[in-house]
């Protein structure tokens, strides 16, 4: 089960399904199952989506590419919304955030 906090479960499920296409190229696992997404909040009044996410390490050389892809995929999925992405390392990512599917994939 993915551990994402949201104010709209239905839209969050759609968002996470779309984010299955965003793969961390080193690990080969999508950002959702990897547990990189902390929050997805939808503000319908302002037509905005607020995403809070992290990376497996602060030094990740693919960070720019991964965050860019998350933003792009969500903007494509919810075309009328503007995505505001916040990258945080507090709390830092840990392997406990990996979903059961991700654990199976990584042989944990």
């Amino acid at each position: 089960m993915m551990k994402v906090i949201t104010n709209n479960n239905i839209k969050c499920t759609i968002a996470l399904a779309a984010l299955e296409n965003v793969i961390d190229p080193e690990i080969g696992l999508n950002v959702g199952d990897l547990g990189l997404i902390y929050n997805i909040d939808f503000d319908d009044a302002k037509s905005k989506i607020y995403v809070s996410m992290t990376l497996t390490t602060q030094f990740c050389p693919m960070g720019e590419s991964i965050t860019g892809a998350v933003k792009r995929v969500l903007e494509n999925t919810f075309s009328e919304k503007e995505v505001q992405l916040h990258l945080t390392f507090n709390p830092p990512w840990s392997h406990e955030r990996i979903s059961e599917e991700g654990e199976k994939y990584l042989n944990l």
Partner: protein, 427 residues
């Protein structure tokens, strides 16, 4: 709660246009070195101070080892300092200066024309290192984050500059008397500043960041890294003082300090491996981890050389084996492993950066041919072992045979590097 600016704290990658020429130059240098090796096998049965051995050593140390490290570090510095590279122009300058200087220097050594071509080459190489050091220093000064890895890199770059400055001095000492002794006398000083001060310090500084990164390991131990840092730099300073002012018997002290540092780094890597999240370790990481243990091979040979020297019985061919094991063994194995861990990501970022998430994109590891990588590793391993025996036994036939394997490994390495560099997305 949320920042309006996306990617606010994400690492800003250096443009691939700066980094890739270094990789290509290094790959071609490795091929040139193996070809020169095959033309110079006879030299490996003589004294280590031989024009052809000097030329090959400098192709390996500068064209191969240093160029690829400079390229990779332009990419990695922003990752390590959590900032961005200070100047792309300085990075280009260091490439152009080194790329022009190295062939002049190597030509000078190979034909032992230590006049203007070699001197001019030496000056250009020094200017390249100054450009790199200035770029590194400013990048670090502008970054808000300080960490042990970036200190390792900066110190290593200082040692590199010291190495090339001493090298230039030795070059001028060939034609005019500048130093109290002849240049051959100072070769161990020049060589070990480069091998330990530059290569070892840098490999540990960068490796201690990349190994846990690629293994996705939970392990981190900055205190241990600081101990390693002090042991290596302390060992090097002791070595220089011993070399200049005290009898050679004192060499054992720095060797023990450095050997201990390597042992601690081995322990660091083992802990990273043990506490890794990713269970499957790919071939490139295996070779990189193997190269850590390969550090012990030249150190063991050095112990034997020093031991024999104490009894006044050091064998010249053992010294050549030592140099060969450093450049064609340890440094080459690290580069083999790390090229195919870092270059595919740089190329992937260049080609697929804007397509990520919008459709099927290949994995970075699929951008090169893993079978060719395996064949390259095999050819290299056979050639490397045979060449060591060839040097020790002074057997030209074995040396010739071994050099064919090494050329084959270099060709396969170039094949995969060029395949990566020209990669285009499938239509």
């Amino acid at each position: 709660m949320f920042s309006a600016n996306s990617n606010s704290s994400v690492v800003k990658n250096t443009t691939h246009k700066v980094v890739l020429p270094f990789y290509l130059y290094a790959a071609l240098s490795f091929l040139v070195a193996t070809v020169l090796l095959s033309f110079s096998t006879g030299a490996f049965t003589q004294h280590f101070f031989h024009p052809q051995i000097l030329a090959i050593t400098h192709v390996m140390a500068l064209g191969w080892g240093t160029m690829i490290i400079l390229g990779a570090s332009h990419q990695l510095v922003p990752v390590l300092i959590e900032g961005k590279l200070y100047s792309v122009a300085l990075a280009y300058a260091s490439f152009v200066l080194a790329a022009t200087g190295i062939p002049l220097l190597v030509y000078g050594f190979y034909f032992f024309d230590v006049g203007w071509p070699a001197q001019c080459g030496g000056i250009l190489v020094n200017l390249a290192i100054v450009s790199y050091l200035v770029n590194l220093g400013y990048s670090m000064a502008k970054s808000k984050s300080e960490n042990v890895h970036s200190v390792f890199i900066f110190m290593a770059a200082l040692w590199l500059l010291l190495t090339t400055l001493v090298g230039l001095l030795l070059l001028y000492n060939f034609t005019g008397t500048i130093l109290p002794n002849d240049s051959v006398h100072y070769l161990p000083l020049h060589a070990h500043m480069g091998i330990v001060g530059w290569f070892l310090l840098l490999v540990i500084g960068v490796g201690s960041r990349l190994v846990p990164l690629f293994l996705i390991s939970k392990y981190s131990n900055d205190k241990l890294l600081w101990v390693i840092f002090i042991l290596i730099n302390g060992g090097m300073l002791t070595f220089i003082i011993s070399f200049l002012y005290f009898p050679k018997n004192y060499y054992l002290l720095p060797v023990i300090a450095i050997l201990f540092a390597i042992g601690l780094f081995g322990y660091y890597c083992y802990q990273c491996y043990k506490q890794r999240i990713r269970k499957r370790v790919d071939e490139q990481m295996k070779i990189s981890l193997l190269s850590v243990s390969m550090m012990l091979l030249p150190m063991t040979i050095l112990f034997i050389i020093i031991g024999l020297q104490v009894f006044g019985n050091a064998k010249v061919n053992l010294v050549i084996v030592y140099g060969f094991v450093v450049f064609f063994g340890w440094i080459t194995a690290i580069i083999f492993g790390m090229t195919f861990k870092t270059l595919p990501f740089i190329v992937w970022n260049k080609v697929y950066h804007l397509q990520a998430g919008l459709g099927q994109t290949p994995n970075p590891k699929d951008l090169f041919n893993s079978k060719i990588f395996l064949a390259m590793s095999l050819g290299y391993f056979v050639g490397f072992i045979l060449f060591i025996f060839g040097i020790y036994l002074k057997n030209i036939l074995m040396l010739n045979f071994a050099s064919i394997f090494l050329i084959m490994a270099a060709l396969l390495y170039n094949w995969n590097v060029i395949k990566l560099l020209i990669h285009q997305p499938a239509r």
